[in-house]
């Protein structure tokens, strides 16, 4: 079971990265259960025990609203994201909740084809099984890149 769970969590992370990079954010929402949280926190706050985040979705509806706002209301730099997720660590399972850690790097490419490192950091995830599928229950993104280049529109 552990080997299967480990692989399923790794697959979920890969799908997560793929769907953001493919700009399929509506499908990306399906990777979260209804009672889920999603947070991006600058490392400098995390280390100092300060609660402020860069993005806080306390339930899936708030996550839906982020996606709807990006599609309809927000004006941001036109770009393509590319995630590199590595060093996936399966930390175990307790009461049906799988704990996983991973590193990420997100590169952004602008319309001139210039690519830049946008953010680097780590994921701390709680993953559960719903209707046979592994999904995020809580996803915490800790951004080492506390200083956001220009703005933060698409999720990390």
């Amino acid at each position: 079971m552990t080997a299967e769970a480990k692989q399923a969590c790794a697959d979920l992370l890969a799908e997560y990265a793929y769907l953001i990079d493919a700009d399929r954010l509506e499908d990306w929402l399906d990777l979260f259960v209804e009672e889920s949280t999603y947070q991006i926190v600058p490392r400098e706050n995390y280390v100092r025990g300060l609660p402020l985040q860069l993005m806080l979705c306390e339930n899936k509806n708030m996550l839906r609203d982020r996606v709807v706002s990006l599609r309809q209301a927000n004006i941001y730099n036109i770009h393509v994201d590319r995630h590199l997720v590595s060093s996936v660590r399966y930390l175990g399972e307790e009461s049906g909740v799988h704990s996983v850690g991973a590193n990420y790097a997100v590169f952004q490419t602008d319309q001139d084809g210039q690519s830049r490192l946008f953010s680097v950091g780590e994921y701390i995830d709680s993953i559960v099984v719903e209707d046979g599928a592994f999904k995020f229950k809580d996803k915490l993104v800790i951004a080492d890149t506390s200083s956001i280049p220009t703005l933060l529109a698409t999720p990390l």
Partner: protein
């Protein structure tokens, strides 16, 4: 490179701003001296960020690194973060607590007041080496700044010619600062945003309440700030600061929707709604009807109230082509857990990832890129009318922006009054 005097200011009321002023490295160099080290006061931090004797924080004024710390008697001192010996950074950590400040390079040691306490091997060893006999530590302290604490907000000035802080801020700014700091502040955390544009494009942005009801559809659609709201912009006697204020319950959805439709703006989006509206539930906590206020204090800070989301935005210059916005979010010490959670929820609207404010990063950068080669062209600032720079009773105005430029030119020694019509 050219002298700033060569830029043409075609109108004496600053309704035209030459684009070259945002892109000239010589102008930037002069700004660091005449504006940031001139007769002005810059925001450093809240006093509660350094609550104990010996606590320090590193900040910037313009692009100068500055340390602010609390002394044993509770008083505050600030000094340039540069060793008097060979010029290295003395305090490398962003926050900390220390009995004194010792430079790592050659261990020159300074007091919390910035005085040089001593240097190693001053007398050499066995009569050889060391400093000359007449070397006097009293002449080699850190370069100190004037510091004032206004209701828990720390400001500093490089200049003996700066007027007293309360005179510099003037009455409306003092009053609004007291409103925002009417209880003891509790810091919730920080955000940073590195924007590839000239810092003055941001001071323009926050002195232009007109853009808020156009560039940011989120706040228009959900009634946080739109141009049909009551409100306006209050200026100080110099016109260099301003408080843009919105009364969020002062229009109806029908009137707002119709006004936007009639004006041809698509910023009010009738087909856009939220699944979770908890973020929008602002509680009036200041005993007035102001639900949004953006107070720009010359030269380096904005105090923001977006509903119950309170923050300062400190401008830290990074050269002529970039600046960092350093956001400090806060609530009050007596906030209960629910109120803190509410402020954090509303923080989704602000900052580099803010549902309202992310657009400003993009707006600054697309202006900065487009005007690079247009030194002799001008921006047009005529919303709110021409002529006198004064308090506005409408949000559809750019007059506060002209107030910035009038004072900026005064500090920089630019005479715009003699320009050709």
């Amino acid at each position: 490179m050219r002298n700033e005097a060569e830029y043409v200011w075609p109108t004496s009321d600053f309704t035209r701003i030459p684009f070259g002023i945002y892109h000239d490295a010589d102008v930037y160099e002069q700004e660091m001296h005449k504006v940031f080290r001139g007769p002005t006061w810059s925001y450093l931090c809240f006093d509660v960020e350094i609550p104990n004797p010996g606590d320090f924080k590193c900040v910037n004024i313009g692009d100068t690194p500055v340390v602010v710390n609390r002394d044993k008697d509770g008083s505050f001192h600030a000094f340039i973060n540069r060793c008097a010996h060979r010029g290295s950074i003395v305090r490398r950590e962003e926050f900390g607590n220390a009995k004194d400040h010792t430079c790592v390079y050659h261990q020159w040691c300074y007091s919390l007041k910035g005085d040089l306490l001593g240097v190693p091997f001053q007398r050499g060893v066995k009569g050889k080496g060391g400093m000359p006999k007449d070397f006097d530590v009293a002449n080699h302290g850190l370069q100190t700044l004037r510091v004032e604490n206004f209701n828990g907000v720390i400001f500093a000035s490089f200049s003996d010619d700066a007027p007293p802080l309360e005179d510099f801020l003037d009455e409306p700014i003092c009053k609004h600062l007291k409103r925002l700091t009417h209880k003891k502040v509790k810091v919730l955390g920080y955000q940073r945003q590195y924007i590839h544009g000239n810092w003055k494009l941001y001071t323009d942005n926050t002195r232009d309440p007109n853009h808020g009801g156009l560039l940011h559809p989120f706040q228009v659609t959900f009634g946080i700030a739109r141009l049909t709201h009551g409100g306006g912009a209050v200026l100080d006697k110099r016109g260099c600061h301003n408080i843009s204020m919105v009364e969020g319950d002062s229009d109806s959805e029908e009137d707002a929707s119709k006004a936007y439709e009639d004006s041809g703006s698509g910023a009010y989006m009738t087909d856009y709604s939220l699944h979770d509206t908890s973020m929008l539930a602002t509680q009036k906590e200041f005993g007035d009807e102001i639900t949004l206020s953006i107070m720009s204090i010359f030269p380096n800070v904005v105090f923001q109230q977006i509903g119950n989301c309170l923050a300062t935005r400190q401008i830290r210059c990074k050269g002529v082509d970039a600046f960092e916005l350093y956001w400090t979010y806060y609530g009050y010490e007596d906030d209960d857990a629910e109120m803190t959670a509410h402020r954090l929820r509303q923080a989704n609207m602000a900052g580099p990832g803010g549902l309202i404010s992310m657009e400003d990063g993009e707006a600054v950068e697309i202006v900065h890129r487009a005007i690079k080669r247009e030194h002799d062209k001008h921006s047009v600032a005529e919303y709110g009318g021409r002529g006198e720079i004064k308090t506005q009773d409408t949000l559809i105005t750019e007059v506060p922006m002209r107030g910035f430029w009038a004072y900026y030119c005064q500090l920089m020694g630019i005479d715009a009054n003699g320009a050709a019509a």
